[in-house]
């Protein structure tokens, strides 16, 4: 809906000529993906998505994301597989944009996840962490501790116009997290944006993880904290402990959390809530005139942050001894 590049049948034909995936049977723009343009593509060899990267994804990061998806798919993780062209490169250009063809994943995103979905997600997250262990490339998390103050600087002065006292609360939180942010936790590839939009289910089972364009190298437990924030709160702002228990239990059934990860979880939840509050706040204050896409509410994450400030131990998120 937001960014959208039209691809003509001629441009498509020229692009597909660089691949060895047969001829086109169907090609339709998909109304998903605010950041990129996506097309459903059916050829004589199967079903694919053609993605055109718009401005928000940095082109120099693409080789990392594409190699990561190829690595994870090769380890058996259900995620999109970027298809190599005849030159052995998954990255090409269509309509002046960097473009890839990835395999189509069945499944649908769930709007209101149940505890069962949260349990399945926990397992899938741990499998992702394990599948990424031997991936050779790294990418800094630009949206972690160092990245928050410059983000907040873009919104400072206007924060109180969005929520009463938001500026002062956020400054205090930044100071607090700078002091206590954990170091030395088990680290590797994390998804860093595994919201319900990015997880496909068929029935109760996870059928695929998508949208790896925030993936980076960071603490595994931080990824779990992001998921607790994104999946286990109810629309009224309350934390659903049954969902938290299912998610953490699912995660630990595949990858056991170390003691320092358990201890860090409340602070990691605060940090990840702050991260989404800040990016939403900047987006909220920079809605272009005439935009049709309603920005997401930063205060949702300010309220989650308030919840986390009162958490003393990971058991309050549902961790069982």
């Amino acid at each position: 809906v937001a960014v959208y590049t039209e691809v003509t049948d001629e441009e498509l034909g020229a692009f597909l000529a660089t691949y060895d995936i047969g001829t086109v049977l169907s090609f339709k723009g998909i109304a998903e993906g605010v950041e990129n343009t996506n097309y459903f593509l059916h050829t004589t060899s199967g079903f694919y998505i053609l993605t055109l990267y718009e401005k928000r994804v940095r082109e120099e990061d693409l080789p990392f994301f594409l190699a990561l998806m190829q690595h994870l798919a090769g380890r058996g993780l259900k995620c999109p597989l970027p298809v190599d062209n005849r030159q052995g490169d998954p990255l090409g250009r269509v309509a002046g944009r960097p473009a890839v063809i990835i395999t189509f994943l069945e499944g649908i995103a769930v709007r209101r996840p149940t505890a069962q979905h949260c349990g399945a997600l926990g397992k899938a997250l741990a499998r992702l962490h394990i599948a990424g262990e031997d991936f050779a490339m790294t990418r800094r998390n630009a949206l972690s501790l160092d990245g928050w103050p410059p983000l907040f600087a873009q919104a400072d002065g206007q924060a109180d116009s969005v929520g009463a006292g938001l500026g002062e609360r956020t400054r205090k939180e930044l100071d607090f997290l700078a002091k206590v942010w954990p170091a030395g936790l088990p680290t590797g590839i994390i998804h860093a944006d595994l919201f319900p939009d990015n997880v496909f289910f068929i029935g109760p089972e996870v059928s695929g993880l998508i949208d790896f364009y925030f993936a980076c190298t960071d603490a595994y437990a931080y990824d779990l904290a992001i998921c607790l924030n994104a999946w286990c709160f109810e629309p009224d702002g309350s934390f659903n402990l049954t969902k938290g228990r299912a998610m953490i239990g699912g995660y630990q059934s595949v990858r056991r959390l170390a003691r320092d990860e358990v201890e860090a979880l409340p602070v990691l939840c605060r940090g990840s809530a702050l991260r989404f509050m800040l990016t939403r706040l900047v987006d909220w204050l920079n809605v272009p005139p005439g935009a049709l896409v309603k920005p997401k509410d930063p205060l949702e994450y300010d309220r989650k942050l308030a919840f986390h400030r009162h958490v003393r131990h990971a058991s309050e998120y549902g961790l069982e001894p």
Copy 2:
């Protein structure tokens, strides 16, 4: 891009429970269709499109359109087949809108049709006319002779702001067509909007016709006139006689034009050019503020009309003796 209704996984599940087409494997909004909301739907029984009808389609017309598509598909025409629910009705409701599930058609729309495409389209158009011969329902063409003056009344006074002299030219054309508009031509079901957007090809062959929401009962040759306007002019405004010859030849290879149809063709081309000029003019003058969709240029059809005014015989469109 324009109108778009979100369907949650819960609404989809409830709707599919009224059908006997299996469980969902994939569900994605399609960025096509300015008038309706469309979703790609894959279930354990096959591939479908879920269409939600937005305001521009009149709900009382839907039974005609759906019965027509079922009739044509039953006659072997490649067009979407509305699927009956368990009650034997193709029409249901999703998210407060009338909604149908139709079978998915392979193929892609061609942006710049060649003469070969025009020939294939001519044959497909004639097959559509024949397949509709024994369809029992009728629907008046609201966008024919009687419908043009009220359309123009919505734009009159502002027409000259769009093109110099457009108001006067259009008034004269309306007067002329009111006097010479042919009656008694062979009549039946026509598509009435068979632009290249609405025709799918696989290679050089027509794989399907879509978007029957202007279909009505009118002169067959008027449908051919619409297609000559929509397919056989070049971007620079010139008429491509090779394409016209291919289209009319393709049509006649399936259904021979009668003498009165041949004689009426120049006037029918004027009428159909006027019809699209008028609807585009009204849309052009009523673009909502902040709209992202660029309206189509009414002057394109004013120029086509000027071409048709100098045509004396259907041979100038490529009709061969």
